[in-house]
């Protein structure tokens, strides 16, 4: 049976304060697939992530984004989340005084639209914490407040497990991690895919190394706001060997 398309990006062009950052992006993401988006610094990777999630600074000048047959091009951010879109932030915000647990419970209720008792939620959280090797004391701390880079990434993964999105955009979830932390993060992503097999993943990364742990179905190379090459996992190997300059020359 043919897989339904979960996310469809059509002819998408984006500006930030009159400065174009993305040009005519086209991408179809099927349920359960992993798409890696690779590119050098400033190529527009994070712009794409923020645009898909609906950040108000990113203005769509042309094109559309369809999520599971729903046009979300102009949808408010929180509605996108409720429709199954998730963004793991490269730099998650610190919000002192708001405990991880209370934030997660509010997010869970908002996204799933279900009410859950404090006790049941606690149990659910502890289960995922254990799967991600997160100490239970962690959930009593202020949201990202004083967290290390690795702790922030793990909290993003905890949300990925908890919120069970249809499409997860992971924005440089591998940045700033040593090899051991990278393995934990990769194992967390694998776990989330196992728990939620229809979830598709857009994995945004600068480096090839995380793709050794999570094998993408497709790789797209983004340069100067354009997708200049698409292919299978092999593309990432070529990139690793030759660098981005090779691909930049493809950009006309």
């Amino acid at each position: 049976m043919e897989k339904s398309i979960f996310l469809c990006i059509k002819n998408l062009s984006v500006s930030v304060i009159d400065k174009p950052v993305l040009y005519n992006i086209n991408l179809n993401v099927n349920a359960g697939n992993v798409h890696a988006i690779m590119g050098p610094n400033g190529s527009g990777k994070s712009s794409l992530a923020y645009t898909l999630m609906g950040h108000p600074h990113y203005y769509i000048t042309a094109g559309a984004v369809i999520l599971n047959d729903v046009d979300i091009t102009t949808m408010p951010v929180h509605e996108r989340a409720k429709n199954g879109l998730f963004l793991s932030f490269q730099h998650p915000c610190e919000i002192p005084g708001v405990s991880v647990a209370s934030f997660l419970k509010e997010a869970y209720s908002a996204v799933t639209g279900t009410h859950i008792s404090v006790a049941d939620f606690q149990q659910l959280l502890l289960k995922y914490c254990e799967l991600l090797s997160i100490a239970p004391a962690f959930i009593g701390r202020g949201l990202n407040d004083g967290f290390s880079g690795g702790e922030k990434k793990r909290l993003e993964l905890l949300q990925l497990l908890l919120l069970q999105p249809k499409v997860a955009i992971l924005d440089e979830i591998d940045s700033g991690l040593d090899v051991d932390s990278l393995k934990i993060v990769a194992a967390g992503i694998a776990l989330a895919r196992q728990e939620n097999p229809h979830m598709s993943v857009i994995l945004i990364t600068h480096y090839q190394r995380i793709l050794n742990y999570i094998i993408p179905d497709y790789v797209h190379v983004l340069c100067d706001g354009r997708i200049v090459s698409s292919g299978d996992a092999h593309v990432a190997k070529v990139l690793e060997a030759k660098g981005y300059d090779e691909f930049k020359s493809l950009n006309s």
Partner: protein, 454 residues
């Protein structure tokens, strides 16, 4: 409104403005002893001789001559809740007095306009010798006790509005806790301004004898009126050796009220005083709860929260005066400014020569909602002793687009996202409140957020 107009809701209302006749009339209506009348008249002279404060918030629109100084409701005092007229019960309902009211009704003394209309003291407290009554009744029934402590912490000449209160005070609570008695449930008083242009000048005095404990909680709300209204209270706390007083205030005045309040406590050997002070609403608030640590081992803490919205200036803070060695204190002042509101922290930390081994920590945190709101800090630190440990921290943060975006990307709408950020910011304050008040604060914050989107 003409004075001749029939106002059936009031037994007696004084003429607008202030003079010796009005002050004398107030005292006479209350059948006060001569010393109190003399005190009032002396205070009036002081009030007239002190100019309006030129520092702090803008008071130029406040005209003390355009205010009724005494209104007595037609309903007399009630001791049974079932005797309280429906009209007043409905007002309490409108104020949204929730479980707190239900739960602690038996111990509530509430002020309606200038007079306490309902008071009921739990029997076991009175059996223990606790006195919880309105100030006029205390003056009548316990004259020696009142005379011994009244205006000893805040004399009439302390400042212009303390002088005004001293001249025209009416209502307020009197609490006396005998030595060693620990009251395990907060004493609560609800009160509000009810009549347009009417000042409210309640006077509260709490005396905690050695080794006793009392928590006093007051919550205020006021409906919106066309003319400016003045609220100028005086609150005096006396914590005798080893006593512990916690005084919690949640004020939510309507946006035309001038809230100019003097609060001061004195803590003797090993005594402890806590001011917990939440300021919502009002046009202008000027309020700096003070603790004098008079003898060694005394502890004082002030934690305050101010929310300033459009057209509002919250000028608040705290004062701690260390007069003795081995005394400790802390001030945590949190403010939120939004929709062009102004919040100021104004504080004093004073340590006199000889007050060695003093420890103090002052922390002011301001949260700005937008680029048009404002926050200022005016800390005064006056330390005359070397052997002390003093910390001062100040922070200003802004609700950022990135924080909102992060929370919205997790399914929260903008209003919920802002409320969550604010609740995080005020968490340290809310932790100190009785549970019913914590619930009330969350409701107030949610209401404030509703009005601030856009």
């Amino acid at each position: 409104m003409s004075l001749k107009a029939s106002i059936p809701n009031y037994v007696f209302r004084s003429a607008k403005g202030l003079n010796r006749e009005i002050v004398t009339e107030i005292s006479r209506k209350k059948n006060e002893p001569d010393w109190m009348l003399e005190f009032r008249l002396k205070a009036l002279e002081i009030f007239e001789s002190i100019p309006m404060p030129s520092w702090g918030a803008d008071l130029t629109d406040l005209d003390p001559e355009d205010i009724y100084y005494y209104v007595k409701p037609i309903e007399d005092q009630h001791t049974q809740w079932s005797d309280v007229p429906d009209k007043i019960k409905k007002t309490f309902e409108k104020l949204g007095i929730p479980q707190a009211e239900q739960k602690f009704l038996a111990g509530v003394g509430a002020q309606f306009d200038s007079e306490v209309i309902y008071k009921n003291l739990k029997k076991r407290w009175s059996d223990q010798g606790v006195i919880f009554t309105d100030m006029s009744t205390a003056l009548r029934d316990h004259p020696d006790l009142v005379k011994k402590y009244f205006a000893t912490v805040i004399p009439a000449h302390d400042n212009k509005f303390a002088a005004l209160n001293s001249a025209v005070w009416s209502g307020g609570s009197f609490v006396y806790v005998p030595a060693g008695v620990r009251i395990d449930m907060p004493l609560q008083a609800y009160f509000r301004i009810d009549s347009s242009q009417m000042g409210q000048f309640e006077r509260t005095l709490i005396i905690a004898e050695p080794g006793s404990f009392v928590e006093y909680v007051e919550g205020c709300s006021a409906p919106i009126y066309k003319k400016n209204s003045l609220h100028s209270a005086v609150v005096e706390l006396v914590a005798l050796p080893g006593a512990h007083i916690r005084y919690t205030t949640i004020q939510n005045w309507s946006n035309n009220v001038y809230n100019l309040v003097t609060k001061r406590a004195i803590a003797y050997k090993n005594a402890r005083v806590e001011w917990v002070d939440g300021n919502f609403g009002s046009k202008v608030t000027m309020k700096y709860p003070c603790i004098i640590l008079a003898e060694s081992g005394a502890k004082g803490s002030i934690i305050s929260l101010a929310v300033a919205g459009n057209g509002q200036h919250q000028d608040s803070g705290g004062k701690i005066i260390h007069l003795a060695p081995h005394t400790t204190s802390s001030i945590i002042a949190k403010s939120i400014s939004k929709d062009s509101g102004i919040s100021s922290y104004r504080g004093l930390l004073k340590v006199i020569k000889g007050a060695h081994h003093v420890k103090s920590k002052v922390q002011c945190d301001a949260l700005l909602f937008d680029d048009i709101s404002r926050t200022d800090t005016y800390p005064t630190i006056d330390i005359r002793e070397d052997n002390v440990a003093i910390e001062h921290e100040a922070s200003v943060s802004k609700v950022s687009d990135e924080q909102l975006f992060y929370l919205q990307s997790r399914g929260l709408n903008e209003q919920s996202a802002r409320a969550l950020i604010v609740n995080g910011f005020i968490d340290a304050f809310v932790q100190l409140l009785p549970m019913e008040y914590a619930v009330e604060i969350n409701r107030l914050i949610a209401m404030e957020m509703e009005n601030s989107i856009g």
